[in-house]
Symmetry: C2
Subunit: 137 residues, 2 copies
DNA sequence: GTTCCTGCAAAATTTTTGCATCAGT
DNA sequence: ACTGATGCAAAAATTTTGCAGGAAC
């Protein structure tokens, strides 16, 4: 896996909790909370302390291997930064709290264009749309 | 103030803590955390319990008078939804944590277009760009 | 007078840290 | 062996809730 190599290069050791978190996240296509990662690992018979989950996420976010997503409910979620450049954003239902992904190339272009003219070296972005989903509306 | 009328119509009573929060936020142009609001009110000799600050923010967010902004540092921030339709998004420095505003009409258009085609009734959106600010880069 | 609002303190939730132990190099 | 990583439990930080007293209508 790409991400494990990057961790190597950054001086992190292999094996153990961090690897389990990386591998679980690698199998996801959308975001999970720290608690969901904790539960997922326990269900997969690879239990990891919740503190290690947070420490792993911290390192992964620093290395830009994982992106933090705040859906506005006070729970931080995390998803892999896919190596293949795939890129999506999030749609949150105000009623039921559901979080879904969407993507749009024109939106990406608009963001890239804006990001270039702000005096910041922008290396990440996130768009969250909030409203009522089809079921709740 | 516009917002106080909306609160009236929603059945909220005037006077007291909620009003103080509304008025303080009305004077801001960018986002403040609950603690900053609490401190700001205390400094203005209009102390309000922190629980009341949170309760007021909750009501204001429900009524869409205030927008919640998550800058990715685990602290929820809040800013007024300006009645004049002014609209901005946020730029967060990964190093120093500074949060700044920016706006771009073309980005707004791109978002509106995307939002219309997703099967959600989208009524709010937020864009957060993350990177290194001019000072930190 | 009734109902809603407020502040305080206590509780709940999410995240971080200290420390002894264990694993990778 | 040495150094970093892990798990547990305790702590910290943020947000929510219960309740008694006070304010608005």
């Amino acid at each position: 896996m790409q991400a494990l190599d990057t961790l190597d290069k950054a001086g992190y050791r292999r094996g153990g909790a961090r690897r389990a978190v990386v591998e679980l996240l690698g199998r996801q296509n959308c975001c999970l909370s720290a608690q969901e990662i904790f539960d997922g690992l326990r269900k997969a018979r690879r239990p990891v302390g919740i503190a290690s989950v947070y420490r792993a996420l911290d390192a992964l976010v620093d290395l830009r291997l994982v992106k933090r997503v705040d859906a506005g409910d006070g729970i931080a979620r995390f998803e892999p930064m896919s190596a293949d450049g795939e890129h999506h954003h999030h749609l949150v239902c105000r009623d039921c709290g559901k979080v879904e992904a969407f993507s749009d190339p024109r939106l990406e272009r608009a963001i890239d264009r804006v990001a270039g003219g702000l005096g910041y070296s922008v290396d990440e972005h996130e768009v969250v749309l909030t409203g009522a989903c089809a079921d709740c509306a």
